[in-house]
Amino acid sequence: MFALFAGLVLAQSLLFDRLLIAQQYVPYISLLFIVLYPTDLRQTMFLVVAFLYGLSIDLLSVSGGIHAGACLSAAFLRPVVLRSVFGISSDYSAVKFSKIPLVQWFIYCLLVVMTHHLVLFGLSDFSMNRWVWVLQQTILNGLLTAVVISVFMFLFVSKK
């Protein structure tokens, strides 16, 4: 888990932040961490870890606290997403990410990513004046990120 933490932070800030697609869209591959964090661990701990995770991305990309806030929000709302996508049973038992169908996985990723992006772009804009831009960035970047994360999942995790 720690290796995933460090590896993703570095990969995001050193590699993927520079990978602009169509001049303005960035795949936030770092969200794999939030998505893959075990579901049977304590939620409070998850919030703290997610915050620190976002904070370390912020430190590397000198962006104040916007990633910290966004990762924190995504982590905070993840139980709700888990419950709505995988059903109530996931509350008490671990969801085995490697065994779920790709469609369900994609929807789960998309919801977590959208939460993260909405907060991220909302914080970076910090006013209501450009809400169209915020929504546009959230949706397009969110779709891109969800697709990239799903592909990663398909390639690496589900083989195990």
Binding site: L55, D58, G64, F76, L123
Partner: protein, 266 residues
């Protein structure tokens, strides 16, 4: 007590989330000039809204004093109007004036601001000058639709171009952050004839204040060691701790003049 602890344990995730999220907001607001600006704009709006109600009572209690002050101001304006008619050719720039009331005023800090009760809806924009009947007060910094935040002359970030009325020697006026009734005039060459009690007025080199607005009188002065400049302490006419009605002045040609100056700076 037990119930309180139970509630805390039950809502611990929400609590942790709120605290950490506030912390990330704080970090964000500190990170860039852009975020700082927007943050202080929000707080201007919120603070003004809260202070409007409390200052309404103050207005009522101060009515008698305000009336007296208004009549003084009317008198002064009338005199100025008459003088202006005589020397109309001197005033080349058509300044516009708007009346406002001070909602909140600080003078205890090193960087002081005031909030006034007119804003963008009344045509107020950042970088307009603010004066009272007795002298300069500050420069508009942020505006919301109904309020504006004004950087007071009691703010170490503000420098005003000023001159000695008698000799027309220019200098730059700043606050030292100590005495709220005293400003410091720097960069006046020591060739200037100067006496304690001389009047200091605005210089008119900037587009914010027109020339000739009174500021204060020379209280004492000394030569700066190893330079050819005076260091002059100016006692302000306007008591910054007691502001009521103020006037926001606008130079309609400001944007044009500034863009011209920026052009030559590049």
């Amino acid at each position: 007590m037990q119930q309180l602890i139970n509630a805390i344990i039950k809502f611990r995730n929400v609590l942790v989330f709120s605290v950490l999220f506030l912390f990330s907001l704080l970090l964000t607001s500190k990170s860039s000039a852009y975020h700082r600006e927007i943050f202080s704009k929000w707080s201007t709006g919120l603070g003004s809204w809260m202070h409007q109600s409390s200052s309404a009572l103050g207005h009522y209690l101060n009515l008698a004093k305000d009336n007296q002050r208004l009549s003084e101001e009317n008198e002064l304006l009338l005199t100025e109007l008459l003088q202006k008619k005589q020397t109309d050719d001197n005033q080349l720039i058509p300044y516009k004036v708007g009346v406002a009331r001070v909602l909140r005023n600080s003078f205890m800090l090193e960087y002081n601001y005031l909030t006034i009760n007119i804003g963008e809806n009344h045509g107020i924009r950042p970088e307009m000058g603010v004066v009272s009947a007795k002298g300069i007060v500050g420069v508009v910094r942020h505006t919301t639709s109904r309020y504006a935040q004004v950087m007071s002359v009691l703010n170490k970030d503000l420098q005003v171009n000023a001159k000695l009325q008698k000799s027309n020697h220019f200098g730059s006026l700043k606050w030292t952050g100590e005495n709220p009734k005293e400003l410091k005039l720097d960069d006046v060459p020591n060739t200037a004839p100067i006496k304690v009690g001389d009047t200091v007025i605005t210089g008119g080199m900037s587009t914010i204040f027109p020339a000739g607005i009174p500021i204060g009188i020379v209280q004492n002065y000394s030569q700066k060691p190893l330079t050819n400049f005076y260091e002059i302490n100016v006692a302000m006419f306007q008591d910054m701790t007691n502001l009521g009605v103020i006037y926001v002045i606008e130079n309609p040609d400001r944007i044009e003049i500034n863009s011209l100056q920026n052009l030559s700076n590049e």
